[in-house]
């Protein structure tokens, strides 16, 4: 039973939480909205995954790096954490780049 991939995902998610907390990017900007966006996002991508699996487009590799636990046929437990990481990275990036661009926008707005 390999824990390597799951551990890597949890470490990465922890990093996202730390950045979020430090810079107030996502949950620390608006926890209620972040919760809704995260749940809807993960569900959306899980459904996408299930279609891909159901249509035989992609499937779980046989590897020693995963626990082997599956939440659905060919859908490893790790995929849920991967999708959560995808959502968190995306919204942290959006929050961080938004912060960088805001001063320029504000300056233009005041100057105009």
């Amino acid at each position: 039973m390999g824990l390597l991939y799951l551990a890597a995902l949890l470490v990465s998610l922890t990093g996202m939480v730390v950045l979020d907390r430090r810079f107030r990017l996502y949950f620390w900007a608006d926890a209620r909205r972040a919760a809704v966006v995260s749940v809807v996002g993960v569900v959306f991508f899980v459904v996408w995954d299930l279609f891909g699996i159901g249509l035989g487009i992609f499937f779980r590799g046989e590897t020693a790096f995963m626990t082997g636990l599956q939440v659905a046929p060919e859908l490893p437990l790790e995929e849920l954490f991967f999708l959560a990481l995808l959502v968190y990275v995306t919204m942290n990036l959006y929050g961080a780049f938004g912060r960088l661009l805001v001063p320029a926008v504000t300056k233009r707005g005041v100057g105009a």
Partner: protein, 156 residues
């Protein structure tokens, strides 16, 4: 059905949500100050996030496939690759970077009553523009600002 066909279906759903966010932002903008720029998804920000996300996806996906976490039916993918990652996989990154910010802006912001517009990214504050920065701000912000350390990772 090919990988691209299923991607087209889900990307179309993403486009509809983005459209809804744009329409909502436009109606808010015409109702209030038309110069407000913080009511809908900022597409320049989405573009920058997309570049970063596509690069990280290229790295991560190649590693995932390289060590055998996932495999693909060669008959159902286009055969276009970035390294060993099917080009189709990047649709997830594109969908995320459009869908999630759109959802964010469709949802009402914290403290939707326009009292003291704090909120770093989506100030639904009064239309009198930005307030002058008084010190280090965030006086009454309900955000968790405890500095008492030992905030370990999420308990799985």
């Amino acid at each position: 059905m090919t990988y691209w066909a299923i991607n087209a279906f889900f990307l179309a759903a993403v486009a509809l949500v983005a459209l809804a966010a744009v329409v909502k932002a436009r109606s808010v903008r015409t109702a209030a100050d038309p110069r407000r720029s913080d009511t809908g998804p900022r597409w320049s920000t989405v573009g920058l996030a997309a570049i970063a996300l596509l690069i990280t996806t290229a790295v991560f996906d190649n590693v995932m496939i390289g060590i055998g976490l996932v495999a693909y039916n060669p008959d159902l993918i286009s055969g276009a690759f970035v390294g060993i990652a099917p080009l189709e996989d990047f649709a997830y990154a594109i969908a995320a970077v459009v869908l999630l910010p759109s959802l964010w802006h469709l949802l009402p912001a914290r403290g939707s009553r326009p009292s003291t517009g704090t909120g770093p990214s989506t100030g639904t504050g009064p239309s009198t523009g930005t307030r002058p920065s008084t010190g280090s701000g965030t006086a009454g912000a309900p955000g968790p600002s405890t500095d008492s350390g030992t905030a370990g990772g999420p308990r799985a």
